[in-house]
């Protein structure tokens, strides 16, 4: 086993600055993940050439793969850095920021576009208000709950967007994750009252028709969300909605 951990990190000092590669070496210790190793480097910010440099900038929060913050390319694959163990990686470990979102600095990117897409597809259950109305929602069977639960674990991490050939910085396409959320809310017993609104949002520019069916999204999702199932269902539903709209004219 190597007695050091060797990183090759693609750095960028600001959104308009030129990217460059910098290498770091740190002492090996068992059970490190990518973020815990970056934390060590942050305290000892010396590059492999022995030069003191500004600590690498990255995003993280929960450190247990539920918040979605620490997405980055690790040896070329988009994944959560906190849940990627050093012992499972070939060295040198290559870290790069996601490429489909605007660069901020080093490994940090701006994913606000994803949250805006959730707004566009109206990924919420419309309520009269959030005070108690002394009623539960309609009953939901355990089988249906299990399917909905898988989708509701989407943490907006952006890995699926990174590998989607149709999604890039200048495209209008909302991308796979928001499609999954639109379908999740359409499947709720009261959320479905407003499914037309969500379908209409997906029938316009940047909607479901932009999906090229590459099926990359489902391969990289850290939560194993069957995004392509949701996309297929939305495809059928939007077609049905298109016909209904046609006859309603």
């Amino acid at each position: 086993m190597a007695n050091e951990i060797h990183f090759r990190i693609r750095r960028q000092d600001g959104p308009d600055a030129r990217p460059y590669w910098e290498e770091f070496k740190m002492p090996y210790a068992p059970a490190h993940n990518v973020v815990s190793a970056l934390m060590y480097l942050r305290e000892h910010p010396v590059n492999a050439a022995g030069k003191k440099v500004a600590p690498v900038v990255w995003d993280s929060n929960c450190m247990e793969e539920v918040c979605g913050a620490c997405s980055m390319l690790i040896n070329g694959t988009p994944r959560q850095a906190c849940a990627t163990l050093i012992d499972d990686l070939d060295q040198p470990i290559v870290l790069e920021p996601l490429t489909k979102f605007p660069a901020v600095r080093d490994l940090l990117v701006d994913r606000c576009k994803m949250f805006n897409a959730l707004m566009k597809v109206k990924a919420w259950i419309p309520l009269d208000h959030t005070q108690d109305v002394h009623l539960h929602a309609p009953l939901i069977g355990p089988g249906e709950q299990a399917v909905r639960y898988i989708f509701s674990r989407c943490m907006t991490c952006g890995c699926c967007m990174e590998v989607c050939p149709q999604y890039h910085q200048d495209s209008e396409f909302v991308g796979p994750a928001p499609l999954g959320q639109a379908n999740l809310h359409n499947s709720h017993p009261t959320g479905k009252f407003f499914k037309q609104d969500r379908l209409h949002a997906l029938m316009g520019v940047g909607g479901i028709a932009d999906c090229g069916n590459a099926q990359n999204c489902v391969q990289v999702c850290p939560k194993d969300i069957p995004l392509t199932d949701a996309i297929a269902e939305l495809g059928r539903r939007t077609t049905g909605q298109w016909f209904r709209d046609l006859f309603a004219r």
Binding site: N33, C112, T130, V133, Q145, Y149
Partner: protein
């Protein structure tokens, strides 16, 4: 008067609920958060949320929820708010259901409920083992709806630095730093709600997210808000150790039948599955036959430390014990606990379905926090649901809710009560702030600019000092040393000698933190600068925690000092003379110590006073006893 606005700091469950209440009341809300609110630490809550739905044929009652919460907290909190919270809990669950939360279901499609610690009834609603994530997302979605209606504005990637006080000491706005260009701005606001979560990072490794530093609470504390019960920090019994954090293995593991054990023989190095039942020491079941593995967290954590450090029975002599679910069928575990068992596998490389997990207590939750008030409802004995005094801090116009406040959990929080208190306190604080706005005679928009400009300048100066190339101290190293001292001396077991050492170390760290050198001197997205500020503030709160602990010469809830322990006479129960003697001693101790610790900031460190509170619902007649 100009349009009124409210600022909420923090977008976890507490902050989002406060925002929802105010948006629905027609007040514009600005939410400030260090990161996109959907990534808040609430998403780490796993096991569930308590509410009496009584769907398990166990004759559960709201009265029992109130009693369990008060006793779980070892009688150290204002009781009227607890009553109102427990009464509101079923309605909160119904609302979450309407919001689309994917709660786990019974075969009939009814919400399922599981057992949690310190409780005998199945009272915890859950969504797999990621309940917090599901509740957070539901609240996030509702807030996003209001955002789409322009009733809410989010400032994500902004760091709260301070409140702006007018000439009369009333909170009229905030200063905050844009974490991209690192510029400080002042914002006007008619009320401010602090919903900034916990402070586990003060202990270095904890179960908390890397942003849960307590810095925001420390900042308002240094501006005059009082901080209560700082010494009461919860150590969760079942966490896996890591370089970066200690990952929580939910109390739901124990609630679903998980058993904690060590080999009976010291130095037994056999593989766990080769150790026969009769050679295993199930110490919680042995010591607490009535509650067994589901004793409250403080009791379980102390028992684990006793086993590893005093009896030498930790695995390989280390601070590690087993948490074992492997007697359950895989399908059952996948369905009920899948999310966290997946996490255990990822981080340990071991399979919790076929063998036990290796765990030890870790810093998890702060029962203490910014001191908040409430208005009692004399009719019901609870708290009034809408009143401007609810959840207001000692700074007028500044409210606090969620983990950063000091309500509800006394000296020890019961599992699955935090998602409840975060939700409930957010709702109450939002309603309170909206009511407060109606009583205001002048708007923050009309206030003289000088108050905002002088506070903004003060904050800019702090940044400039930190960015000056003169210092020598590395803020990341300071934080590591702070965590080491806190874990060494202010952990599950405390002693006055150890706490004195901690206080000396903290004073030294405070001195050194005035001489920081940053390896990043840039002005674009400088995480080192933001971190250095937070480290300075963590050190301030560490002193509040350690000093409160040093001065509280008793054992209560999570705060334990062996030298002051009142031991329950072994094998004796109510009615036995030895037990009654113990009870009399316990009551005498309550006379002295059943008071809230209140810290006030001074230049020389915290001044500690004590405050009596309302215990009109459950008088302390019975010591906690989970045997």
């Amino acid at each position: 008067m100009a349009d009124q606005r409210i600022i909420v700091i923090g977008g976890g469950l507490g902050g989002l609920w406060a925002a929802l209440r105010m948006a629905e009341a027609g007040v514009h809300v600005d939410i400030f958060s260090l990161f996109p609110v959907k990534r808040s630490h609430s998403c780490c809550a796993q096991g569930g949320i308590n509410a009496v739905l009584d769907t398990k044929g166990q004759e559960d009652s709201i009265e029992q929820h109130i009693v369990d919460t008060i006793k779980g907290g070892d009688y150290l909190s204002e009781q009227p708010p607890i009553k109102t919270m427990c009464e509101a809990a079923p309605g909160i669950i119904r609302t979450y259901d309407r919001m689309g939360v994917t709660f786990s279901r019974t075969p009939e499609g009814i919400m399922d409920q599981r057992l949690f610690g310190g409780v005998k009834k199945r009272r915890t609603a859950f969504a797999g083992a990621t309940t917090g994530q599901q509740l957070l997302y539901a609240a996030d979605e509702q807030v996003r709806y209001h955002e789409s209606e322009q009733k809410v504005t989010k400032y994500e990637d902004w760091e709260f630095l301070s409140v702006v006080l007018d000439g009369e000491g009333v909170c009229r706005g905030i200063t905050a730093m844009n974490l991209h260009d690192m510029k400080v701005h002042a914002f006007r606001s008619d009320a401010v709600i602090l919903a900034t979560g916990g402070l586990g990072l003060i202990y270095g490794q904890s179960t908390m997210s890397t942003n849960s530093t307590g810095a925001a609470a420390a900042r308002v504390y240094q501006q005059g808000a009082k901080f209560a019960n700082g010494e009461f920090v919860q150590f969760h019994p079942t966490a896996m150790k890591g370089h970066d954090k200690n990952r929580l293995m939910s109390e739901a593991c124990r609630g679903e039948g998980g058993r904690i054990w060590v080999p009976s023989e010291k130095g037994d190095t056999r593989e766990p599955r080769e150790i026969p039942q009769e050679e295993r020491f199930y110490f919680l079941e042995d010591w607490y036959p009535t509650y067994g593995n589901t004793v409250p967290r403080d009791v379980a954590s102390r028992a684990i430390v006793r086993v590893t450090r005093h009896m030498g029975l930790g695995l390989n002599g280390q601070d590690v014990v087993y948490l074992d679910l492997s007697h359950h069928p895989r399908e059952f575990l996948e369905q009920r606990l899948g999310g966290i068992l997946e996490m255990y596998t990822t981080f340990s490389g071991e399979d919790p379905y076929t063998g036990p997990m290796k765990i030890f207590p870790a810093t998890h939750y702060s029962m203490g926090g910014v001191l908040v008030d409430y208005a009692k409802d004399e009719q019901t004995g609870g708290m009034q649901k809408v009143h401007p005094r609810n959840h207001v801090t000692t700074i007028p116009g500044l409210y606090a809710c969620g983990e950063c406040d000091s309500g509800y959990h006394g000296a020890n929080r019961l599992g699955a009560n935090s998602l409840l208190s975060a939700t409930f306190s957010g709702q109450i604080a939002g309603a309170a702030a909206a009511a407060y706005l109606k009583s205001l005679k002048k708007s923050a928009a009309d206030l003289d600019e000088k108050y905002f400009e002088s506070e903004r300048t003060r904050q800019e100066v702090i940044n400039q000092e930190l960015l000056s190339p003169n210092g020598t101290e590395n803020p990341f190293a300071l934080h590591r040393e702070l965590g080491e001292a806190m874990r060494e001396h202010v952990f599950v077991e405390r002693s006055n000698a150890g706490l004195d050492k901690a206080l000396v170390t903290i004073k030294e760290l405070k001195e050194r933190s005035r001489n920081i050198h940053l390896d990043d001197q840039g002005t674009w997205n400088n995480q080192s600068l933001s971190w250095a500020r937070q480290v300075q503030d963590m050190i301030v709160l560490a002193e509040v925690i350690a000093k409160g602990a040093r001065l509280r010469d008793e054992c209560r809830g999570s705060h334990y000092k062996a030298e002051f322990e009142l031991k329950v006479p072994e094998g004796k129960f109510e009615g036995d003379p030895e037990y009654e003697e113990y009870r009399a001693e316990w009551k005498a101790n309550n006379k002295e110590w059943m008071k809230l610790t209140v810290a006030t900031h001074t230049e020389d460190g915290p001044r500690i006073d004590y405050k009596p509170f309302d215990a009109s619902i459950l008088a302390p007649e019975k010591p906690r006893d989970y045997r």
